[in-house]
Subunit: 150 residues, 2 copies
DNA sequence: CTAGATTACTTTGCTAGCAGACTATACACC
DNA sequence: GGTGTATAGTCTGCTAGCAAAGTAATCTAG
């Protein structure tokens, strides 16, 4: 075994890919079990919380790196759960504004506990601060360099 | 902005998650465009290449961290493309052995070029060797600690 | 040797998300 | 104004993958 001659960055890339696919599944499983939310749902709620609580569909799509159709479905789900509400933008009647409801704000609070616990269990005991800093740097840089894709 | 008080490992975790979701999509898009293969297909082929070229379905499922049903579909696809062939294990007739065909071996060669080019474009210019080593260490450790899940 | 339990795989029904078509509104230029 | 073009969102198939039920072969007890 191990007659591979892979450059370091390639091994880093494949390890990162494998690990994060598994962990995404694990985290999503937790969140869905506890709150009936997908990670995409949670991200949408977080974005609404952070950015004015009233975003247009296309803004949400862009922030979630999701197709327009996918975003429609995410917001459909959240609206059905009573966590967000749609309203028409009077200034541009093509646009749909999405806002958090009170129930949505409560859901964020509960979800945050689940996510934190999950991430902590998965990651915290395995990461030193130095390693965390490297990860943040690298991921930021790579994300920025590839964000425009698609 | 940035009145967040998140611990470092949490930011590292979320950055890693976001980045790798995007990059998986980008890489898969390349591979599918060039060879009509999904990453799961490619992983299956690689596993067949590395481990004796004849694995049982359940071995493949385990290695790909995929459900049994999902594995059936992956192998269906690859068989239809002529890259693998199924045969019954004479020693245990419940089992299905999957083997690479010559065309499958060629496909691996072509896919490797696509994957390498994609990974290189995405990662190589952004990773120093030191950073790569940190990533490999961390991802290995985290994967190992969470592998048993599911 | 045969009844029940286990294992290996496939099939079926479901959900998430994409791509592309469609509708409605807004803008630009004549 | 009117006409062409771009944009916002939704709708309609389609695919990947899961979970759970179904089938077939093997093992274990008695």
């Amino acid at each position: 075994m191990g007659h591979d001659e892979q450059p370091l960055w390639r091994r880093a890339a494949t390890h990162t890919l494998h690990t994060s696919i598994l962990l995404k599944a694990k985290l999503e499983d937790r969140l869905q079990g506890a709150e009936g939310l997908l990670l995409a749902d949670h991200e949408a709620l977080l974005n609404l919380e952070h950015f004015g609580e009233s975003l247009r569909m296309s803004d949400i799509a862009h922030r979630l790196v999701l197709s327009r159709g996918g975003t429609t479905k995410v917001i459909d789900r959240l609206e059905e759960m009573g966590y967000v509400s749609r309203s028409s933008d009077p200034a541009d009647r093509r646009a749909t504004m999405v806002g958090l409801t009170a129930a949505g704000r409560e859901a964020i609070g509960r979800a945050k506990l689940v996510i934190d616990a999950g991430l902590e269990e998965i990651w915290s005991t395995h990461l030193t601060d130095d390693q965390s800093i490297v990860l943040i740097e690298v991921m930021d840089r790579v994300l920025e360099a590839n964000r425009d894709w698609h």
